[in-house]
Amino acid sequence: MSSGRILVVDDDPQIRRVLRTTLIAQGYEVVDARSGDEALERVRSEKLDLVILDMNMPGMNGIETCRSIRSNSDIAIVMLTVRDSEADKVEALDAGADDYVTKPFGSPELLARIRAALRRLPQVATGLQTVRVDDMEINFTTRRVTVGSKEIRLTPKEFDLLQYMVSHPNLPLPHTKLLQSVWGPDYGDEVEYLRVFVNQLRKKIEKNPSSPKYLITEPWIGYRFQLRQDSK
């Protein structure tokens, strides 16, 4: 199993090649992009755990790309740059980067920073956790949900929605945030779609869908996944 899926964004093909080789050797899956626009497209269309982003790129620079990614995604971002002034670091971190590595860098340092950034991600996002709530078990690796001894059939979208909600337990999740996180950044107004999906999920996982215990409606805001404190 891969340790994570990483997007390398750099206009320099040599750096992309070196990073690809290094990361694949460490068990990561690697995809790359040559520009900020291509990176945004990748983030939108693929499931990624971390982005390594060069700060100086022609066209959309690293800071703008970082801001755009961060506005729609909680993915970990590590910036790479030749500049190491305090102002540059502050700018990158303020744009939403999780960490900052100055070129030239050694592979061990970069790998350690990647591991640290991935550790800080919610566990569910890395696909390693099983969540048990009462008699319901959600396995994020195998994407299976069982209630009691019965396996529940969820569509991929229903599972993605459940996964997102379970990874942010006991928090009111606004409609827009849910739609953009599960369906993509082009969505946001389709609240009625969300209602249909949540209703379907309730029918499948709740004992009494009309009086839900887990998928709670937050009036005028969105939904909340109710997880008891003793659940793992």
């Binding site: 059939r153 569509t155 229903e158 009625e192 779609y193 249909v196 379907q200």
Partner: protein, 153 residues
């Protein structure tokens, strides 16, 4: 008292190769342009839900005419609807009902807590689809109003 209606025609979509659908999404016919966009929205929704799409057409027959003889022959309407589904690139089952009252007919033919998709235009006044949506919501159906754009072609 239930309003009179006759199920005139139905064309069923080809059966699934996978286990049966878990949900039926009903698109109610309003007009050809808006229904085409509603069908596309329903297909988008259905793809994430393992759902089937039903296109329900409550065709109102005015009182001077007998219920079994609408002004437009149902066969002709059905052919246009099949073309519409083909143009929208949606595999939908089509149900045509001849009736006197659209809302009453829908309330009788829809299953409990159905998911209904309706095309609508943005207007400042309540339009027919909006009033229909309100009536269906009152009866516990889940209605999705799809904002439709004018077809300029």
């Amino acid at each position: 008292m239930g309003s009179a209606f006759i199920p005139a025609y139905q064309v069923l979509a080809p059966p699934h190769t996978e286990p049966g659908p878990e949900l039926h999404i009903t698109v109610v016919f309003t007009n050809f342009d808006d229904t085409k966009q509603a069908l596309q929205a329903a297909a988008n929704l259905a793809s994430g839900l393992r759902a089937d799409i039903d296109l329900v057409v409550p065709e109102v027959v005015p009182y001077p005419l007998p219920l079994v003889r609408p002004a437009v022959p149902p066969g002709f309407t059905l052919r246009r609807l099949m073309n519409l589904a083909r143009e929208a690139d949606v595999q939908a089952s089509i149900y045509v009902y001849l009736c006197r009252d659209q809302v009453q007919t829908l309330l009788q033919v829809l299953q409990r807590q159905s998911v209904v998709v309706l095309g609508r235009r943005k207007r400042w006044f309540p339009t027919k689809p909006m009033l229909l949506a309100r009536a269906l919501r009152k009866r516990g159906h889940q209605v999705i109003l799809v904002k439709c754009r004018k077809n300029l072609m």
